[in-house]
Symmetry: C2
Subunit: 465 residues, 2 copies
Amino acid sequence: MVQHASLPRNETGIETALGVLKQQFGERFQTGQSIREQHGHTTTWIENQPPDGVVFVASAQEVSDVVQVCAAHEVPVIAYGTGTSLEGHVNAPAGGICVDLSQMDRVVEVNAGDLDCRVQPGVTRKALNTHLRDQGLFFPIDPGADASLGGMAATRASGTNAVRYGTMKDNVLAVEVVMADGRIIRTGTRARKSSAGYDLTRLLVGSEGTLGIITEITLKLQGIPEAISSASCSFPTVDAACQTVMAVIQYGLPVARIELLDATTVSAVNAYSKLDLPETPLLLLEFHGTEAGVVEQAEIFGALAEDHGGQGYVVTTTTEERNRLWQARHDAYWAMLHYRPGAKAIATDVCVPISRLAECVVASQEKAHALGLVAPIVGHAGDGNFHVSLLVDMEDGDELDKASGFVSWLNSVAIAMDGTCTGEHGIGQGKRKYLQEELGGATGVMSAIKSALDPKNIMNPGKIL
Amino acid sequence: MVQHASLPRNETGIETALGVLKQQFGERFQTGQSIREQHGHTTTWIENQPPDGVVFVASAQEVSDVVQVCAAHEVPVIAYGTGTSLEGHVNAPAGGICVDLSQMDRVVEVNAGDLDCRVQPGVTRKALNTHLRDQGLFFPIDPGADASLGGMAATRASGTNAVRYGTMKDNVLAVEVVMADGRIIRTGTRARKSSAGYDLTRLLVGSEGTLGIITEITLKLQGIPEAISSASCSFPTVDAACQTVMAVIQYGLPVARIELLDATTVSAVNAYSKLDLPETPLLLLEFHGTEAGVVEQAEIFGALAEDHGGQGYVVTTTTEERNRLWQARHDAYWAMLHYRPGAKAIATDVCVPISRLAECVVASQEKAHALGLVAPIVGHAGDGNFHVSLLVDMEDGDELDKASGFVSWLNSVAIAMDGTCTGEHGIGQGKRKYLQEELGGATGVMSAIKSALDPKNIMNPGKIL
């Protein structure tokens, strides 16, 4: 387990804030051990650092009230949605108050004619899609977990659909935010594009709660496509699979999803889900378009795959068959954990230019093999983003050191390829040193912005910078 | 003509900087009247406020050198590309030094396999597309003018293709920037997506030279589509044309361009370009895709247009015919100026949610009519963005007052519709008061960022804030 250093605690301020908040929020302010630990929930890889208290807020004004109390007493404030982040984002290394936004879960309005909506930050992506279905609309960003939209915005999340629909950066039109002094601002309008001043929307999206707390989000929506089809294709080598992905992107084929599973992952899924997929690298795809369009896309993909030795290419349009094909992907996380009983998964998140994808994935496999690590890979291959899940016995110090070394090595390799250490998980506590390696002097500019907007460093301290 | 207030000049500092720069740059530093006025070039609507000197720089390091001289003596620095901006962006209301980036015009690298490239800021969009053509690639953003890519990034430009390909915000992967103290930073990598810290790329894109000077841009590119077809269709009313656009967007039809010309513009173009288009509102379209895909898109559009009374629908795939169809759009600006000889054009730039487009365009026509203004309209209708070009006799004070009143009225109407006063032109000098009206308290956050990153207020002062 990685322990991130605790930061100095302002005991007097925290004590005072706890008293004030108890008075203001009554039963909606909790300080019990288990609730606090649950709100410091991260991954098994990063040690839990619980907050001192948790407020269950119901409105932007209440968030502002909490922030004002914390500002007055110089106490950290940490926003919490569903606790599905992976880099220690909700930890409280200096203690402080957790603002639980899960009860702010209202879809405020859906403007079907404009393909947009306004939601509170505690609405999860699945809840939003359930809400939208009757109107023929959907919100495309799918990071796997049923994360809250506030948290997804705060970490600039993406996932399997990003190759077609972009990331949260591309799908948030505006946010309402409580700043470090309690001011409530709105960063934009419902206009599809704007050149009106600094892009505060994009500055707040991905700021991981370190500049402000998002209390409402205006999102772009998509019409549910006329036709959806899914496909799967096996490849003799991971290089061949990646070369196919590169060809797809260079061709400009508008795939909605193109996911890579390496042979180890396929083996794990076969065992877990009782499938009999060939235990070689697999690509899973989804095509969105008109009836004729998805047929054409599937044909073009078939030809590109064949050029690279693809085998067992299957395409299907029925929902049932689609779900069966994608089961391997949906079950991958659990299958991996079963693949090595007792082990925990440590996720990496590099993203490289697509031309370097094959090289980076192959090098990762070789490095993991050389270190004796069990390291299945799944990737949002169309973006050049892939996750090596290191299955580690957390009690084995030597293995943990090797895993830690692997993470460092991979992040450096990706950065050297003009890529990033994090395609979608964020920096949090876990990747701060790599941010410096990746962007150098630009982090000084980030620090200047942080100091200007949060001079007391109360907003989620110890994250990003 | 609108005169924007001059700001206090630091005469001593300017005098010193002029001397230092003359010594450092020799013939590449110019202070002649005509060069200075040319570099304060804006539009006929905003008064020219020339800088005190112009440096023709050749590298990021030279930009840094200039900025350091100006920082030392607290002298304004204004970046200049091609001088095609519309809101007084290159004016020097407090005097200062213009950094002319037009000689930094090198395409540094093209990574065809990754669909990206790195360019210096003085490369124009047409020059880039000429450079790319042999590789089957293109850069889609087309604001009309052959603007520099540095200037396009700085103003978050877009134009006719944005409905399909997005704006500069969506197509810049990273920038190299000289900050107000002369530091050179790089804001990102060539990864397609990233969650690595604050999104400085998007903060700098659209910052209009007020936070730093962009010295290199990493851009996304597109493959030239397998097939391109164009179409035009006339409508009985501007409302019918806008309703069709709304139907297209709500259908999810991936049009590459969908431009609106109102009846006045069509009349102007008929006269100027010797065409005989029906003098009713016109939509011009472009479809990008596979051979079969563009045929299908054109059919779907045809059906939607027919539902709204569209007439004379023409589709063509040959380049020659496409150019002929689009001639009306390409000539629109010149045709407008000829439509009222002696008049100058004042451009508005509102952008509203697509469901309000028809209402906003119709209200604009009615308001202009009531005021007795000649006001042809062209619009990037798919984005809800349209330009009313007020053709004004600049010598007629009463008419100028009416035009000025119209601009205010329209901006307020768009903002009340949850839209923006500027879809793509930027704030500059001209729209500062509307930025306040549009975003309220958020401008305070912008000011805090500006003060933190440019404490001496030397970077393009008097713009945006």
